[in-house]
């Protein structure tokens, strides 16, 4: 709540300095919000489904402490496949965490969002195939490393 108040105060302050830019920012924010709404709806739906179907036991089995390699592969794949703004995935991840998903897997999921399959052609255009291939491989490895470290530390 304080954060939102802070941002609104920031807007008021900047409005005093440069009104047109603030109006343009609000317009941009509305555009962002409109893009985000369909994904939000999809995620609320997904959360509802997972609340209904995913009993803690199921989550524990596939993504919990004993999930092992399969759990990592699932987290990595879903991280890569997940789309849309990251904010809409946070509530789902919170639910999964409360149902027993390991934080290492949550971190791996989030990190693998750096791999965006639909954007690969654009990346290749700017940086070339070898760069993209090597980078993608290292991202996946790093997601695993980061997950492991976070589990040891947190």
């Amino acid at each position: 709540m304080y954060f939102l108040v802070f941002v609104i105060l920031l807007y008021i302050f900047i409005f005093w300095l440069s009104p047109e830019k603030v109006l343009s920012s609000i317009e941009t924010s509305i555009q962002i919000f409109i893009q985000v709404v369909p994904v939000i709806i999809a995620v609320i739906f997904l959360m509802g489904i997972s609340n209904y179907f995913l009993k803690p036991k199921t989550v524990m089995k596939y993504l919990g402490k004993e999930s092992g390699t399969k759990g990592w592969l699932l987290a990595i794949s879903f991280g890569i496949l997940s789309h849309g703004s990251i904010y809409v995935w946070y509530p789902l991840l919170k639910e999964l965490k409360e149902h027993g998903m390991r934080i290492g897997l949550i971190a791996a999921f989030l990190y693998n969002r750096a791999v965006k399959i639909p954007l690969l052609p654009l990346m290749i255009f700017y940086f070339g195939v070898p760069f993209v291939a090597v980078l993608t491989l290292y991202i996946i490895i790093a997601s695993f490393v980061e997950g492991k470290i976070l589990e040891k530390v947190g």
Binding site: L4, L10, K21, S25, I40, F45, P91, K94, P130, Y138
Partner: protein, 149 residues
């Protein structure tokens, strides 16, 4: 017996969806704040601003790249375009790689939301680690490319 079971299932389904909706509504203030902040960034930070920040020393630039990518957010397409421009302007590949990686893996603007949902400690640790990893992976990628090409 069947009707009872069905009505239990329906109640459980409805409760599952209402839980999902409620969890979203509690997050709405932070979400709105973040979207408004993103709007500000998109308006104020221009391409020229970004290109003028890089100094020329690869080590410093890589740090700057990761820091800049951490602050900036939005569609990764933007980061690739900016990255391409930076490369054209002579910024080192180490810095550009760290930049585009930090763009997607670290989110200063997203921290409040991430902390609300997944815990402050996790959010801070994950973002901090991702910042460092952006630099490490940038180095690893460029060095690997140098070795295999």
């Amino acid at each position: 017996m069947n009707v009872e079971e069905d009505s239990r299932k329906i109640k459980s389904l409805v409760s599952a969806f209402s839980k999902a909706l409620k969890s979203f509504l509690t997050a709405l203030p932070v979400l709105t704040g973040v979207i408004l902040l993103m709007g500000l960034f998109k308006t104020f930070v221009t391409q020229e601003t970004i290109t003028s920040i890089f100094s020329g020393d690869p080590l410093r630039d890589t740090l700057i790249g990761s820091a800049l990518g951490s602050i900036l957010t939005g569609n990764p397409i933007t980061s690739y375009i900016i990255g391409g421009e930076l490369l054209k302007n002579g910024v080192s590949l180490f810095a550009v790689t760290a930049f585009i990686l930090a763009w997607v893996t670290v989110g200063i603007t997203q921290l409040p939301a991430e902390a609300v949902f997944l815990g402050r400690r996790f959010a801070l640790a994950r973002n901090g680690l991702s910042f460092i990893l952006a630099i490490v992976i940038a180095a690893a990628t460029v060095l690997t490319l140098g070795a295999i090409i």
